[in-house]
């Protein structure tokens, strides 16, 4: 009974088989579309050539058109603002909450867990609820702001192009805060108490302890949360669909929504592919940096 023939039953062949089952599916439904996407970005693809396997190649035309489009500037700028503001706000609020819930009081862990409810709800439902909260005429947020004296007039969050991006950011931060908080909490609990006690004996105050112990020891965790925050933020689509549809006049449009719009509303599918390829490069780049850095942490 040679080993090779029964390798699936008894040997390494079993592990290989299990991995290949998953990989085959992912190659067909993930890797292939990825490659096809790149191909299409160099082709002229519209409703008429959609079904054809022999579409004309247009070189870099799709990329040229996309990059010289009059809307490109504002959409790129929106994407950067959307990512930076969302990630920064999620991080600051999430870290603050994590530090608060790190204190010992009855029910701390359970109450902290409740925050994840916001993360688990369908993005479209969150968008619908926020679109009602942010409504210009009768939205409760305007009432709160007026009552607090922060604004005199009602703000038209969704229909004013200068505000619409921020309304999506607000909802996106709401979704992202719990994830940030939970991951940072895990990192905080991993710091042993005696390190703080030693610092206290050395005469370090609260702020000093945070700056010299918490922050440096949380470096890996903060890196992970920031990378994952960027990745999740670039995946956000549902909120745009539910809140602003990228409008008005592209005021809240971002690359990942624009790519979909080009393909499915303007039917300029080749250009949709081009935008998609550009953004996928960005996302994969961030993810690769993140994965590589965590691998190094493990090796060290």
């Amino acid at each position: 009974m040679p080993a090779t023939s029964s390798s699936f039953r008894d040997g390494r062949g079993f592990d290989r088989m299990l991995v290949w089952i998953t990989l085959t599916f992912l190659i067909v439904f993930s890797a292939f579309p990825l490659a096809y996407n790149i191909l299409m970005s160099f082709q002229s693809v519209d409703l008429f050539t959609l079904a054809s396997f022999d579409r004309p190649f247009v070189g870099l035309d799709n990329y040229k058109e996309v990059l010289t489009n009059s809307a490109t500037d504002i959409i790129v700028k929106n994407t950067i603002v959307f990512v930076l503001l969302s990630v920064a706000a999620q991080l600051v609020i999430g870290f603050g909450l994590a530090l608060f819930f790190q204190q010992r009081f009855p029910g701390a862990t359970w109450l902290r867990g409740l925050f994840l409810a916001g993360w688990i709800l369908p993005g479209l439902v969150v968008g619908a609820v926020w679109s009602w909260i942010l409504a210009g005429d009768f939205g409760v947020l305007n009432w709160v702001l007026q009552t607090l004296g922060l604004t005199d007039d009602k703000i038209f969050w969704l229909s004013d192009p200068t505000n619409s991006l921020y309304s999506v950011i607000i909802a996106n931060v709401w979704i992202g805060v719990p994830f940030n908080m939970i991951l940072l909490s895990v990192g905080l609990s991993a710091i042993p108490d005696d390190v703080y006690e030693a610092a206290e004996l050395d005469g370090a105050g609260r702020v000093w302890r945070f700056l010299t112990i918490t922050l440096p020891l949380m470096r890996a965790q903060l890196g992970a949360v920031i990378s994952l925050g960027i990745i999740f933020t670039l995946q956000q689509f549902d909120l745009f669909a539910a809140l602003t549809q990228g409008g008005p006049s592209n005021g809240s449009n971002v690359m990942q929504y624009w790519s979909w719009e080009l393909s499915f509303q303007d039917y300029r599918i080749g250009q949709g592919s081009a935008v998609s390829v550009l953004m996928i490069i960005v996302v994969i780049g961030v993810a690769a940096i993140y994965v590589r850095s965590t691998r190094h942490e493990h090796a060290a």
């Binding site: 039953r9 998953t22 916001g118 369908p122």
Partner: protein
């Protein structure tokens, strides 16, 4: 001393409750709005407790044909979960057990496929699916696309679970006379059961709220899931906020119940998957 500590603990608890309340206000606002009549919804200042609670659930359910939408959502979520569990559990196990350069490459590729945004993948998926005729079965098309989207996440989560099952248990089973697959099914899977269930639940909940693929691949209203239904209900300028919030409440209440019941497991499953 002790009294002071007790007191400060309660002070912290009160602050914590306030924070939770502030954060969960949108969820509360959804339920409250669902109970308000048209007049009360446009009341200024807004009321924080419905003056005349009005249940519109039955009416919205009927008018919006929610049964169809929710059924489609359930079909998609179940289909995705079944595919992902069947195809992904073994891979999570193999990646947890075998250490080699090869497996590192596989894990890296899987992590990379995990981050691909649906809204960017939908363009090639739409074109390819329409070319091979898959769009004639739109729900199946969504199931396949969404399964490919969440399969990497599931593999990463279950891998973290299988890492915790001692290797000797499986070796004992092999020496006791079992095959690799026999040991996997009778030892590893039962011992990793909780992690597998939590991962499957997360996949199920995520797929229950899937939007991009359904919106883009399913044209027939009768086959669309609840997210797409909600979107078309809202329209560009809805004023029927009671209806929309009632719809949303009916849709997410089961999700919230699931979450409250399994909060602890979900939190621990999430953190283990995201950090390892």
């Amino acid at each position: 001393m002790l009294r002071d500590e007790r007191l400060s603990q309660y002070a912290l608890l009160i602050v914590a409750l306030a924070l939770v309340a502030a954060y969960l206000f949108p969820v509360y606002w959804m339920y409250v709005t669902a109970l308000k009549t048209g007049n009360e919804i446009t009341a200024w200042p807004p009321t924080f407790w419905p003056a005349n609670p009005d249940f519109a659930a039955a009416e919205v359910w009927q008018r919006m044909q929610m049964a169809t939408y929710l059924k489609n959502s359930a079909i998609i979520a179940v289909g995705v979960t079944v595919i992902v569990v069947v195809l992904g559990t073994g891979c999570g196990y193999a990646l947890a057990r075998v250490r080699s350069r090869w497996m590192d490459v596989v894990l890296f590729s899987i992590l990379m496929m995990q981050v691909l945004p649906s809204s960017l993948m939908i363009t090639p998926i739409f074109v390819a699916f329409s070319q091979v005729g898959l769009l004639d079965y739109p729900r199946s098309a969504v199931i396949l696309a969404q399964a490919a989207k969440v399969l990497p996440f599931y593999v990463v989560l279950t891998r973290a679970t299988f890492v915790q099952v001692p290797k000797e248990l499986e070796e004992a089973a092999l020496v006791d006379g079992n095959t690799r697959i026999g040991a996997f099914l009778s030892i590893n899977v039962p011992l990793a059961r909780n992690g597998i269930l939590v991962a499957a639940l997360l996949i199920f909940l995520q797929s229950l709220g899937e939007y991009v693929y359904s919106r883009s691949l399913i044209q027939n209203r009768a086959l669309q899931p609840a997210t797409v239904g909600l979107q078309s209900f809202m329209g560009p300028n809805t004023s029927d906020w009671q209806g929309v919030m009632t719809y949303a409440a009916i849709y997410v209440t089961p999700i919230i119940l699931f979450f409250v019941l399994l909060q602890r497991q979900i939190v621990s499953g999430l953190t283990s998957g995201a950090l390892k």
